[in-house]
């Protein structure tokens, strides 16, 4: 059976998941463990006047209660934001303090005010309800569009609640383009706030061993090494060699588990305070809603200028981006360098100017969520392009085609250099699969049933595998964005690959092993992928931004190069041939022109036995490491086409057809890639049709704090998807990969909303376009017509 690159290999990790043997953080229990429960602010904005504990009885089981004062006593640093953004005037972003337990003030409903540690989970929860916190309620603001004018002053350092006012692009050139325009399309858009909702709630177990003065943290993280670095360097808990972070099986992340959160830091810090007993915390779903970092929440005005033939001359926009009440780990780069840099879409746009104001609100912090900035960019570009085509009465496919970037490399006016792509090829294939020509007939047939049928496109582009490190550093990143890999060949020829990438559903144990199997010709079952433990893997940047393939696997590929090179040398000595005469194919080394041959496993053994080569020249053993820093971002792109039918009586929308044609460059395992696309599209459909985080502006309370109020897409909300692929290799990494994890979530919202506005014959429609929203639109249209 083929297990190499391109094969639909069944996943190696599945056995433990389908038999109930997965080991997620909450499945782990340490000896003598206690339980944490957090006292959270019931107010959107309040001073904390006092925190009083009652007299605990032994049956209360309370071990300790800690507050911000204890944190200050131990000089534990606050949560950080690792990407510096400067405002237009050159001033640095205004980051307010973010202590791991509130100090003096709570800034959103759910803010972590104190922690109770008790013998059982139930006791911790019951005791937390008895901790008496006196608050002084302050004015609050939850709505990003109102926050700069609000009476609420969330952080002293940030007047008008403004974190930064940033811009990208050439303002004068863009204004000039608009002067020349034959037609200008204007659009106001709200990118609705979302709550990520990985199905596994966040959890952590912190423990301190006084014998060795060493801490261990189990946590639901997408990047355990980054967590260790931050907890060590910024929270100042312990130096890195005294802190081990383990992210075992993680039940989905979608960005929300990238960030370093207060709860995990509290668990590992407080363990020492209670004499080293481990402390476990598992979020209840309500806490996930309240205190996981949320996504999106943009309010944007955009304008697009065209000449008389529908060629785009320029684009400008102004975006208000909510940051929530604190800057989360990567919050500042999401509405800036991950957003405005993609505003050229798939199009050759000569001039672009974007302004982004990042604003504090009394809401949970907002940070990267599947796509992170790129869905917001695609939503803007694809909604306004579709609207422009309609206004200029040009077929939307044709309008796009006229404006496509067609030669590479292509320098956009907003930093990016697109390295490869064929946007017309994806469009063409998508039009075929979707039977675009047959749409008018399908629309007419639907009309006979009393349904409004619409079609919508999204020709997205995204930038993945953010790199190289020096470039992101110059844009403000506090870290490098390379990846590491170590390939350990055992004497018997089995292989362990240690990777800094982290899998929380992506199937790395399979795809990474496919690469090794392909390269070394070994059985995929003799390859093990090791990840998620800072004691095993030296360092790594983790998994987000669809980087594990393009960056993580490239690092493995580099390490494999070195393994192969050394194995060649050893094989040459053992077979007494010149190194240049050694050929390596299908897992065996042979001497050119002879029948001398050694299987990979035999060379591995020879490397460890070390009898047959000069160890003064070649070190014994076979283990190689690589750190790989890509030369550019990668640019996955594609075309999604959505068809909807709207019931005019009820406002219910059904997605009747979905076509996705994506160019991800090299695909390692099509089965897994298709799965990523399905999942991404469904999250995007969720954003468009069902999901919306709502805070009540009057009370500042989160109104969508459970699955009864926050509508997750279920099986009946989505169709089966028709997928196709085109392929242009990415020239910026050795494998030609681009990344596939976020594409669906990036493309889908615009495709749905373009289809719905087509069906309804309206320009504006807000997400989530629930039946109620649609029904109101239908009534308004009816009234206007009467």
């Amino acid at each position: 059976m083929d297990t190499g690159i391109g094969a639909r290999v069944r996943r190696k990790e599945d056995h433990r998941f389908i038999t109930g043997k997965g080991q997620y953080t909450d499945d782990i229990n340490l000896k003598d463990q206690t339980y944490a429960y957090f006292v959270r602010s019931p107010h959107a904005h309040a001073t904390i006047k006092s925190i009083k504990e009652p007299e605990w009885a032994p049956e209360d089981g309370v071990v300790a209660v800690f507050t911000g004062e204890h944190v200050a006593e131990d000089k534990i640093g606050g949560l950080i934001c690792g990407w510096m953004i400067h405002s237009k005037d050159g001033s640095p972003m205004k980051a307010g303090p973010h202590p791991i337990l509130a100090q003096g003030k709570a800034r959103y409903v759910g803010d972590h005010v104190a922690v109770v540690i008790a013998e059982t989970k139930e006791q911790a929860k019951a005791a937390a309800a008895r901790v008496d916190v006196t608050y002084g309620v302050l004015p609050h603001v939850v709505d990003v569009a109102k926050a700069t004018k609000s009476k609420a002053q969330i952080h002293d350092v940030a007047p008008d609640n403004t974190v930064f006012e940033w811009s990208l692009g050439d303002k004068a050139a863009t204004e000039a383009a608009f002067q020349r325009a034959h037609h200008v399309t204007k659009l106001d858009l709200v990118n609705n706030r979302l709550i990520p909702n990985a199905m596994e709630p966040r959890a952590a177990i912190g423990s301190y061993d006084s014998g060795s003065d060493h801490y261990t943290l189990y946590t639901t993280s997408q990047n355990p090494h980054v967590a260790r670095l931050v907890i060590s360097a910024f929270h100042g808990l312990a130096p890195e060699h005294k802190l081990r972070v383990i992210a075992p099986d993680v039940g989905g992340g979608f960005g929300s588990k990238i960030f370093i959160y207060a709860e995990e830091v509290v668990c590992v810090w407080a363990s020492k305070r209670i004499g080293g007993r481990p402390i476990k915390w598992t979020a209840e779903r309500t806490e996930s809603f309240l205190a996981d970092a949320h996504g999106r929440d943009h309010v944007t005005h955009a304008e697009l200028a065209m000449d008389k033939d529908g060629h785009i001359l320029g684009l400008k926009c102004h975006t208000l981006a909510s940051m929530g009440a604190y800057l989360s780990t990567f919050a500042s780069c999401v509405p800036t360098y991950l957003y405005a840099t993609l505003l050229s879409g798939q199009y050759a746009i000569p001039a672009i100017y974007a302004e982004v104001d990042a604003i504090y609100t009394n809401t949970a912090p907002v940070d990267a969520y599947r796509g992170a900035g790129r869905p917001e960019a695609t939503y803007l570009v694809e909604r306004i392009v579709e609207t422009a085509a309609r206004e200029m009465k040009i077929d939307p496919a044709e309008f796009r085609r006229r404006n496509f970037v067609t030669s590479f490399p292509h320098q956009t006016p907003v930093i990016m250099t697109y390295d490869a792509g064929d946007y017309d090829a994806s469009l063409k294939k998508a039009l075929e699969i979707a039977d675009y020509k047959g749409f008018p007939a399908r629309k007419a047939a639907a009309a006979k049933q009393g349904k409004l049928r619409g079609i919508g496109f999204a020709n997205y582009i995204e930038a993945c595998g953010i790199a190289p490190s020096a470039a992101v550093g110059s844009l403000g990143a506090g870290v490098g964005l390379w990846e590491s890999a170590e390939v350990r060949v055992n004497p018997v020829g089995t292989i362990e690959v240690l990777t800094g990438s982290h899998s929380h559903g992506q199937g790395h144990e399979t795809t990474f092993a496919q690469l090794v199997s392909d390269r070394l010709g070994v059985d995929i079952n003799s390859v093990a992928i090791v990840h998620g433990d800072t004691d095993k893997v030296q360092f790594g940047m983790g998994t987000y931004g669809s980087r594990s393939g393009a960056v993580g696997m490239s690092a493995i590929s580099k390490a494999l190069d070195k393994v192969e090179a050394k194995a060649r040398k050893i094989a040459a000595h053992v077979m007494e041939a010149a190194e240049g005469d050694i050929e390596f194919k299908n897992g065996s080394f042979s001497v050119k022109g002879t029948d001398k041959k050694m299987a990979f496993g035999e060379v591995a053994l020879a490397a460890y036995v070390a009898h047959k080569f000069p160890t003064s020249e070649i070190e014994p053993g076979l283990k190689e490491t690589a750190f790989y820093d890509p030369s550019n971002f990668t640019f996955p792109a594609g075309c999604h086409i959505c068809e909807v039918e709207i019931d005019t009586e009820t406002g219910v929308t059904e997605i009747v057809s979905w076509t996705a044609v994506d160019d991800f460059g090299t695909v390692i395992n099509p089965m897994i890639v298709e799965g990523q696309v399905h999942g991404g599209i469904t999250q995007g459909i969720g954003q468009a049709l069902t999901e919306g985080c709502v805070y009540d502006s009057e009370s500042g309370q989160l109104l969508t704090g459970s699955y009864m109020d926050y509508c997750m897409p279920r099986a009946t909300d989505v169709p089966s998807f028709k997928l196709g692929f085109t392929e242009t290799k990415c020239p910026s990494n050795p494998l030609g990969m681009k990344g596939c994890g976020e594409a669906g979530a990036i493309a889908a919202p615009a495709a749905v909303m373009n289809a719905m506005t087509d069906a309804l014959g309206v320009k504006d429609l807000a997400m989530p376009a629930s039946p109620h929203t649609v029904w109101k639109t239908l009534q308004a249209t009816k009234m206007a017509a009467e």
Binding site: R10, R11, E13, D14, H15, R16, F17, I18, T19, G20, K21, G22, Q23, Y24, D26, D27, E122, N197, A198, M199, E200, P201, D249, V250, G251, G252, F254, E284, R285, T286, H504, G505, Q506, G507, M671, I672, E674, G675, Q676, V677, H678, G679, G680, I681, T682, Q683, S706, Y707, M708, M712, R714, A715, T716, V718, S720, F721, G744
Partner: protein, 154 residues
């Protein structure tokens, strides 16, 4: 504390629980059967689905004491004698899982669905019947395919 006993995955077990202890807590914490997951606190995600006396229920919504004397099957009890259940096979074959967190509940709900509705299931029925199970990863596409195939092989 009340003493309870039940048969879990064919084995007789007993334990002492508080009246408020949920079945899922008893399974995970007392018996160490951590295959059954907790994904919500409002009985809506289905990560906790197990079979009690042959019927799928959400174990986060059943009291352990109420299951005294019952026969319970969890995801750990699906495979028999080292052989995977056809539904487990189908989930692997059709890539019906990614992070695996919803999977135990999906599997138990799917087996129950076949028990109730037979082996020939159309897409619409499967999607409708999954209304109590949320998956955030797969977009359901492959779960639907897996259940259809698994049902045929049951």
């Amino acid at each position: 504390m009340s003493a309870i006993s039940m048969k879990v995955n064919g084995k007789a077990v007993c334990g002492a629980v508080e009246p408020r202890t949920l079945l899922v807590q008893f399974l995970r914490e007392n018996l160490g059967l951590t295959g059954t997951h907790v994904g919500c606190d409002t009985s809506q995600c289905g990560a906790c689905v197990v079979h009690v006396n042959g019927t799928a229920i959400k174990s986060c919504t059943a009291l352990a004491v109420a299951c005294d004397g019952a026969e319970v099957t969890t995801v750990e009890g699906l495979a028999k004698n080292g052989k995977l259940h056809p539904m487990q096979e189908a989930f692997r074959e059709h890539h019906g899982l990614q992070c695996g967190f919803c999977t135990p509940g999906m599997l138990m709900a799917a087996v129950d669905l076949v028990n109730r509705k037979g082996k020939t299931l159309d897409e619409e029925t499967i999607r409708h019947e999954l209304e109590g199970n949320i998956c955030r990863c797969t977009g359901y596409h492959n779960i639907v395919k897996a259940i259809q195939a698994g049902a045929e092989n049951m």
